[in-house]
């Protein structure tokens, strides 16, 4: 006779823990860039500058890192739009945390000296973008402008 065996509490806990861990691993959002070690997917340069390092996360959750928004735009031009999950750019001011590109305000100025001479900085606040556009003798650009120009 076969005895019906109930799974013990420990096993259930382990399974639950595993599921939570799996969920965390799947979580969306930017992945940290290893500055000074990783190379730009497009131009192969080592990514050093936290003010310009940016990221594309594809629909499978794989992160592609770039050292300049211009490299990211060139990469978008060579990739199918349906494969792109999210695009993150750093806030030029403050802690340079990676934020969704569509919500950012961009300033274009030669005085920015970005790694690949894309010379675009992103700001989360419109006020600070305007402030820097004035200081750097630059122009304000929206994300839509940038991607439409690339196509």
């Amino acid at each position: 006779m076969i005895e019906k065996q109930k799974p013990d509490k420990m096993t259930i806990r382990l399974i639950l823990l595993w599921m939570v861990a799996a969920l965390v691993a799947c979580s969306s959002g930017p992945k940290p860039i290893d500055y000074g070690k990783e190379e730009c997917v497009f131009c192969k340069m080592t990514i050093m500058d936290k003010q310009f390092g940016c990221q594309v996360v594809n629909t499978k959750g794989k992160a592609f890192n770039f050292d300049d928004v211009s490299c990211l735009l060139s990469y978008l031009g060579t990739t199918k739009p349906e494969e792109i999950g999210a695009i993150y750019v750093p806030d030029y001011t403050g802690l340079n945390e990676l934020l969704p590109a569509a919500e950012m305000h961009f300033v274009k100025s030669e005085l920015l000296h970005s790694p690949m001479a894309g010379n675009m900085a992103a700001f989360s606040g419109k006020d600070s973008a305007q402030h820097y556009a004035g200081n750097l003798k630059g122009t304000m650009v929206t994300w839509e402008n940038l991607i439409s120009k690339d196509e």
Partner: protein
Amino acid sequence: MANVLFALAGSVTAGSKAFPTIKSAIAAAKDGDTVFVLSKTYTESPIVVNKSIVLMGQQTPVLDGNLKHEIMIIEADGVVIEGLHFRNSGFSGYEDVAGLRLMQCRDVMVRNNRFTNTFFGVYGQHAVNCIIQNNTFFSSALDETVSGNGIHCWKSDSMIIKGNRVQGHRDGIYFEFVTNSLIEGNTTTGNARYGLHFMFSNDDTYVNNEFNDNGAGVAVMYSKRVTMLHNKFLKNTGTSAYGILLKDISDSHIAGNLFMDNTVGIFMEGSSRIFLTQNQFTANGWAMRMQASCDDIKLSRSNFERNSFDVSTNGSLVLNKFDYNYWDKYQGYDLDKNGIGDVSFRPTSLFSMITERNAAAMMLFRSAIVSLIDKAEKVLPGITPEALRDDKPSMHPFKLLK
């Protein structure tokens, strides 16, 4: 005429009782004068040089920026800066603070100076026909991502960068939009990113430089007509380190260089019409990685010795020509004794093609099965590009290095 000029030229001494500061001495000087700077520590930066004068340090006086300021800015033509020690410039995330800035000037000479812990060492900005010679740059920035470049030139022309030593910066020497310039006899070691970094800079030459143990080697990108002669690319190791990274380079010459102990000697992408000759590739992981996006590359009379892989590529179409090279992996014969092997050599192994597609396959390197499939591929090439071969491999290494 020269005598008259010489007679007219006076001198002013900074650090003396009459002129205790460099600024006051410059204010008192006229075009063509020499300002002698006595051996002291001066903390009056930023110092603006707006006259065509010679600024000559006696026993290396120290100009200290107190970690706050740019130290000196040159705004006049024909200035000479010699024998000064620039120390502790400011550091900034938003501005490129320099030890010495050459701002829209020409015919400036900067020689025999020391730069310690400057964010950017010398910063040329719209500089023309300037000479930067025999200076030493040493930075010990704690966070390597916030250090600046040793010698940085932007939108400049006809610059001569000669005999400098750069250590501990982000890029040793950095050129962006710099044309018709010469980089000769410099040594860059232990910089966080590149020993030398060229971007959008056409018609430049670099000769007899040594690039040793920099974070990622040397990068030459988006430039035309670059000449690289007799340089040494040594010990650039790491996953994204290259002796030289060539990206979108055309119409260039690479001759007489030594590539030794690098992860990759030359990595080439999107480049065309490059002539490589008489280079020595020794003990690199890959001597050359040539992406399929390259065309019209000619590789001739070079030595390939003790490299794990000689040439690898990621495509099957080959529009490049290899001939008369010496490959230590060549196992052919020379029956007519003319010094040229009678059968052609394929420098690309099957396994290097596999690792090009899947880097993790590297863990199988030097296993029995890998040598077996490499041997099988040599006999019956199926995957490696048929056209990637040296039809005239040399039987003996060339004597290339002095």
